[in-house]
Every structure is written in structure tokens, then in C-alpha cells.
Amino acid sequence: MAPPIRLTLPGTLRYRAIAVRAVAEAARLVSGSTQRDPNDALAHDVRDPFDTAVVSAFMEIFNNVAIHAYSRDGEASTIELTITPDADQIMIEIKDHGVPFDIDGVAPLPEELDEYTLPEGGMGIHIAKTMLDEVVYEPGPPNLWRLRKHLSAPAQQLRNGSSK
């Protein structure tokens, strides 16, 4: 098994794209997906369902850390990212040294959605929890998010070229 990918970034939104790119490429290692245009290194090319779930969830958690733990543009410490892509799953740990987040205070989405009840906020944690198999938050210091997504059996078969 390859060692984890480790990345330490300033905890601001300016560095978000670097973290997202690293996670997207790590997800590709698990899913076996390829970019539409492999020569376009800057493309935001996320189509595979596994990649979509991992990248979508990670973006929300990174946003959450930069905004809530480090108050967006305020004084920020670091975000320590550990990405472990395995044969059938990816695990991502996101550690920060900021203000703990009240994950239990996140309101659920409205039961019935229409043009009047469409939410304009509070969707990030819902996206992460729904997209992934595991979202664990341990308030610190340091605060730790642990994310896990398994590759589905059919996706594993496709990746291994053994689909029937």
C-alpha cells in the first residue's frame, strides 16, 4: 500500500483550489477515471460518480474549515490534509487548529422544497454527509474531520475491467 498523501496548506480560501485538485486526483486513483482532456491540467473535470462524491464533499468541508474555524479572511493557521487512496476506498483527514464547529447545530433541509423554501445556506454539511459513507467530526484542538468513501462493487468491476 502506498503511503498517504500529506499536504499542509494555509487555512484560507486562496489555497482551496490546490487542495481540491489534490483530492480530485487522489479520487481518480481509486475510481480509475480519466480526464476528458488529459492535456488540460487546469480543467475542472469531475464526472465519475465516485470522484463527484469525494470532491463535492471535500469542497464543503474545506469551505467549512476556512470560514468557521479560521473566519474566512481572518488570521489563519494551517490545514493539514492526509489523503489515503486505497484499492476500494478513499479516506481523507482534515485537521485544523481553529474554532471548533457545532456540527449538531446544522439544520436539516426543508422536507418540501419549492421556490419559497429553497435554502440559501446550510447545505454544505448535508452534501458531505449524503455523498460519503462516513463523515466524522472530532472537535479539538486540533479539530479533525474524517471522511470516507467506498468504491461500489460495480465501479470496482468496471475499474478492473471485469464487468459482466
Binding site: A17, V46, E60, G121, M123
Partner: protein
């Protein structure tokens, strides 16, 4: 930073073309553009998402803000072209039915 959207007007109708990544870094600028657009009370707004590759909850919130504001003023919003990750997000949030995607 290149903004990932263009707005064009034709009388009371507006077309908003969004491409690349609509996220927490780019959505605030779109929100300002939406504010400028909404005060003109357009009767129809077409939002073209064919070129949109990635969206996060901040980007979704910007589109919801546009949708609500135009509808509240009696206008129509048509969102077209959502695909891949953005479409998956709209479906997860159950907004695909509200937006008729």
C-alpha cells in the same frame, strides 16, 4: 481572477452564462451581478450551465438567490444545461425538480 460568468441583456430578458467552477471564491462576484440584474426587474432570465464543471453550496446559494429574486418580482427563470457534478448536486439537494432540470 477570471470571473466564471457573462451576462447579456436583450430588453427585459437576460442570459447568464456560467462556466468553470462556481464556488465559495467566485459566487460572491456572481451575487453582486445578480443584485445589479434583479433591480432591473427582468421578465425572463435564462441561466446556461453547459460550461459549468463544478459547483459547491455557495454557488448553489447564488443561483437560489437569483431564482427567488426574479420569481418574487414576477419574472421567469429557466436553468438549462446542468450536467455531471453540478447536476448531481442539484439532484442531491432535490432542487432539480424546482429548477426543472
Amino acid at each position: 481572477m477570471t470571473l466564471p460568468f457573462d451576462v447579456s441583456r436583450n430588453g427585459n430578458e437576460a442570459t447568464l452564462v456560467i462556466r468553470g467552477s462556481l464556488d465559495i471564491n467566485t459566487a460572491p462576484a456572481l451575487g453582486e451581478e445578480i443584485d445589479r440584474l434583479v433591480v432591473t426587474r427582468p421578465t425572463k432570465v435564462l441561466v446556461d450551465l453547459v460550461g459549468l464543471d463544478l459547483i459547491d453550496s455557495s454557488g448553489v446559494a447564488a443561483l437560489v438567490k437569483l431564482y427567488k429574486a426574479v420569481r418574487a418580482a414576477g419574472g421567469q427563470v429557466t436553468i438549462t444545461g446542468a450536467r455531471d457534478q453540478p447536476l448531481a448536486i442539484f439532484k442531491l439537494l432535490r432542487m432539480d425538480k424546482v429548477f426543472n432540470l
